[in-house]
Structure formats: C-alpha cells, structure tokens
C-alpha cells in the first residue's frame, strides 16, 4: 500500500472541513421553516427576500461598505507613500518602522476597541462613524503596506532613474512609472483591505453606537434576538459576493500572486 490513499482521505476531510459549513449555511438559508435548522425543511427563497427587506441590514450594510471602501482608500493613501519610502530610502530604525507598519495589530481587537472608545470617543466626543473610520484605517494599513511593498520590491529602482534622466521629476517618475507598474499590487491591497475591514468584529463592537452598526455587529445582534434563517441567507449572499470578487480579482490581476 502506498501513502496515496491516506493522503487523499486527509485531503478530502480537509476540504469537507472548509467547505462543509458553507454548504450547511447555504442549505439552511433556503429552508422553508421558521428557525435556523439543518437539514432544511422544504425549499423557499423567503429568507433571502427578507434580508433585502430588513431595514437594519440595509443600513448596516451601507455603513460597512462605506467603511471598507473609504478606510481602505485612506490606508492606501497613507500606505503607498510609506511603502515607497521604506523600499527606496534608508532611514534610521528602518527595520523597526517596517515591522510596526506592516504587522497586523498584535494587540487583541477587543483591547484596541476598548482603548479607542475609552480614550478617543468618550473624552473627545468624536462621532462614532469617524471613530470607526479611523479604527478601520489603522487596522487595514498593515495589509496595504505589506502587499504594496511586495510589488515595489519587484520594481527595480533604475526604472525611475531612467525616467528622471529622460527629463521627469522625481514625483513625476512616481506617477508615470512607479504607480502604473504597481497597479495590480495596489488593487490586490485594496481587495484585501476591503475584506479585512468588512469582516471586522471586535473593534467595531466597541465603537458601534445606537443606530450605528456595521453589518457583522448587526448580524450578531439579530441572532441574539431572532433565530430565523435570514442570517444564514445574508451569510450566503456575502459568501457569494466574496467568491465573485475573488474570481474577478484572480482573473484580471492574478490576486493570489500578491497576498
């Protein structure tokens, strides 16, 4: 007997472990019954329809989208120049700075959320949405720096020097030569940042206030109140959305090469 069969069995179990929950949730969301259950009772799309009808889901989805898009854009605006500086110039404490800026926050999200609430929102009365935006930007920044840095390291700096010797300014060389060549890396960073922000729970938990909730927090609260399959339906929709995004990203920019 070879090692082949056991390996295939292990691989099969692994795939089942990863895909299983997804299958269960999709099946449960198509249930005709009134409670979240598997196997589903009958078939119906009413819970899917309910997701779209639910006002709270619509507003929390809008907030989560807003945060994911603008926090990631902000993180890129900060992160691209930071990555560029780190890859092109030698600075004092460069390694330390690189580690800090490119490591996802090591402190547990619960603590970050609590700290932001206690020392930023409470004493200064900062708007909850602004606080969420700042927190998400900080959370997403390391992912952006990491992915953008990787693409910058693949672009030789003599390409910029060539642009300068052809008459370009340093800033002009950045926009004409550097940015177009790291475009795919920036798109990959955007997608990764978007997903990270959209999926964020612990920090958002503390900063969400009355009437201001991100989608994952809203779903958490909904499940505590109601035990119907609409949360499963929403989860399925979100999963299909991410699959769609990943498919497009892989197809057009080869996403997996960047992360």
């Amino acid at each position: 007997m070879t090692m082949r069969q056991p390996a295939i069995v292990v691989l099969g179990l692994l795939v089942a472990f990863l895909v299983g929950p997804f299958v269960v949730i999709v099946a449960a969301s198509l249930s005709a019954g009134d409670t979240l259950a598997f196997p589903p009772q009958g078939f119906s799309l009413r819970w899917v329809a309910k997701v779209f009808a639910e006002q709270s889901f619509r507003s929390s989805f809008a907030l989560s989208m807003f945060l994911a898009v603008f926090a990631t854009l902000a993180a890129l605006v900060l992160g691209i120049p930071a990555s560029y500086a780190m890859s092109r110039y030698s600075m004092p404490f460069a390694e330390a700075v690189r580690t800090v800026v490119s490591s996802p926050i090591i402190v547990p999200g619960i603590i970050v959320g609590l700290a932001l609430l206690r020392y930023l929102v409470a004493p200064f009365g900062i708007n909850v949405v602004v606080a969420l935006f700042l927190a998400h930007t900080a959370l997403v920044l390391p992912y952006c720096v990491r992915v953008v840095s990787a693409s910058l390291d693949n672009l030789r700096s003599d390409v910029e020097e060539a642009a300068i010797l052809l008459g370009s300014s340093r800033l002009g060389a950045f926009f004409r030569v550097v940015l177009p060549n790291i475009r795919n890396g920036v798109l990959a960073a955007f997608i990764l940042g978007f997903v990270t922000s959209f999926d964020q729970v612990p920090v958002s938990l503390f900063l969400s206030g009355p009437g201001v909730q991100t989608l994952p927090i809203d779903m958490l609260g909904y499940m505590e109140r109601t035990y119907d399959p609409s949360v499963a339906a929403l989860s399925s929709l979100l999963a299909f959305l991410s699959i769609g995004i990943m498919f497009v990203a892989e197809r057009f920019i080869g996403f997996s090469r960047y992360v």
């Binding site: 003599d158 390409v159 642009a163 010797l165 052809l166 008459g167």
Partner: protein
C-alpha cells in the same frame, strides 16, 4: 581644463555614506569621443558614471559639460543619457511609448513626435516592434530600445553601463558594431563602463583604466595594450608575468635576479605576456607544472626560482611534457617597463 575638453571632471570625490568610492579624479573628454571606463568591479567606474548622470552628488570637485558647470544641476536637466545595464525599460509601456517618453515630457506631440520616435526605432532596426511590450522582446532588442530611448533625446553625452554584458557572444559582436555605427553617425560623445578589456580595446577611442577609485592610466587602446604603466594595468591587459624591479634586478619573493640586458632607469617593474617569454634557451630554468593546448599555441605553466611563469609557445614546436625541465629567457628589450608598481 584644456580648451578642447567637452566634458571634464575635476578633483572629483564621490562617496556612498562614509565609504569613499572615487577620490581626486581628473578626466577631460573631447566632444565626439568614445571613451571606455575600464576596471574590475568596485573600482568606481559605475559610481563615476552615475555622478556624470547626476544620480549621485559629488562630495567635492566639479563636473563641466559644454562649458557649463553642471556639478549641482539636477539629473533631469543635464541632457545626459544613460543606458542602464538592466535596460530599465518601462514595463507598462509599449516600445513606441518607451521611446516617446522623454520627448513627450519636452512637450513634443503629434506628427513631430511620431517621426522622431519612428526614426529612432529605425536607427536601431526595430521599426516593426513599436507596439510590443518590453516583456515580449529579447535582451538584445530591449537594449536597442533603451539605446533609441536615450538617443532620440539627442543628449550631449550618452553613458552606457556594461552595454554588452547581458548579451550572448554573437549578439555582443552585433551590438558592438551597432554602438560604433550609432556613435559615428550621430557624433555623440559616448562613455561606456566595462570590466571586459577586450570590449574596451575593440570599441573605445580612449580607455580610462580605473582601480580603487582612481585612474591608473588613460590612453588609446594600442597604448594601453602595449605600454601599460602599472602592474595592475599590465596584468589586466594580459601581461601575466609581472615583476618588481629594484636596483636593476628583478625583485621576487624568492630573491633577486639579474637579467641579460639593461633595464630602463625609470622602470619600477617589468612585464611580459606569456607569448613574450622565450622557451628553449636562456639563463633561467623551470619545470613544467601545467600544459594546455589552445589551437595555434600551447600554454605552459612553469615552476621557476622566480615564481610561477606563464608561457605561450607555437603549437608547431615540440611539446614539453609535464615535469620536464626547460630553459627560458625573459628578454628585457621587448618587456613592458612599468612606471608604477603596486
């Protein structure tokens, strides 16, 4: 600075941080000259080139180009072109746009731009490749695009960093001819950096041999090849038997040896190519440690009281077997006298 100098470097000192790469460098180049900066890696030749381009600010000293002090002029305002060793083409732009890059920055548009770029591409024989991306070209083609991209800017000086090193042997000959032709046709002042003495000898009007951040010797190829002035240059151009001279005798690690002829007074050393050593007679004796056949010649490595000696003899002559004892002579009359040793 002489009247005819078009590009001159005066007492140039260049450093990376605290590491001095080039010190007290003086060099005057005439308009239209084809100059080779020749030396081993780390000798400062690329650093010197980067300083001329404006990519590295000198610690001290001056650079003049076309009667103007450009020491503090920014790299993008110097009219100096540089063809990088890696070509440094813009990967996201097609060949046409690569060549058009600098012209567009000058504000050139439309028909004029089109004509200039096309004639640039025609000069390097790549007219039909205008719409390709750099990634779809061979190394030799990429290099010609890089050359065209610099040449359409009509630079006052064109710098080339190891222009032939990334090409295979056949392309190297082709590109060598191409560079010479472009230089002759346009009359552009050209400086190229190389570690390959054959390349420098074949291509340059004058060769600047560098070592440890200073110039060892400047001269025409024949001069460098036949009359090296230092032990380093001698060794670099193939004088493989180099000896220090003291008080009219060869000064070796194993003792002093008189030669059968008068050594020029000013010589600090003497050097012989392997082919200049006369085998089969003479005052010295050695045993054959190595022998290799090289077509028209045989190369011997001899163990001698003077140290190892390399000899090249015609393949028509009888072979000396390994371990055999042979007599040889180092004729003073044809040796290259070295003004500096070490």
């Amino acid at each position: 600075m002489s009247d005819s100098a078009y590009l001159s470097l005066e007492q140039l000192k260049l450093a990376y941080g605290k590491t001095v790469a080039v010190d007290r460098l003086d060099l005057a180049i005439k308009q239209g000259e084809l100059i080779a900066l020749l030396g081993p890696s780390g000798c400062g030749k690329t650093t010197t080139m980067r300083a001329i381009a404006g990519l590295l600010a000198p610690v001290s000293g001056h650079i003049h180009l076309d009667s103007r002090d450009i020491t503090r002029v920014a790299a993008n305002k110097r009219s100096v072109g540089l063809v990088f060793q890696s070509y440094a083409l813009f990967p996201h732009l097609a060949v046409f746009e690569n060549v058009a890059f600098g012209l567009r920055l000058k504000g050139m548009r439309g028909k004029e731009l089109e004509d200039r770029v096309q004639s640039g591409l025609k000069t390097v024989g790549l007219s039909s490749f205008a719409s390709r991306k750099p990634g779809e070209l061979s190394g030799g083609q990429q290099q010609r695009v890089a050359l065209a991209r610099s040449m359409v800017m009509e630079p006052k000086v064109l710098l080339l960093d190891e222009p032939l090193s990334n090409l295979d042997a056949r392309l190297r000959l082709e590109m060598r001819a191409e560079l010479q032709r472009v230089q002759k046709e346009t009359g552009v002042t050209m400086i190229f950096v190389t570690h390959d003495q054959a390349e420098a000898l074949a291509l340059a009007d004058r060769i600047v041999v560098m070592l440890n951040g200073t110039i060892e010797q400047i001269g025409a190829p024949e001069e460098i090849y036949n009359r090296p002035n230092s032990a380093f240059v001698a060794d670099f151009v193939g004088f493989e038997n180099v000896f220090r001279v003291r008080a009219g005798e060869l000064d070796t690690e194993t003792g002093r040896f008189a030669l059968g002829g008068a050594i020029p007074r000013e010589a600090q050393g003497l050097a012989w190519r392997p082919s200049m050593v006369e085998l089969g007679g003479g005052p010295f004796e050695g045993s054959v440690r190595g022998m290799s056949f090289a077509g028209g010649t045989r190369q011997y490595l001899l163990d001698t009281p003077l140290g190892p000696i390399k000899v090249e003899a015609s393949a028509h002559l009888p072979t000396h077997a390994l371990g055999a004892t042979v007599r040889f002579d180092l004729p003073v009359s044809i040796a290259a006298p070295l003004q500096r040793f070490g």
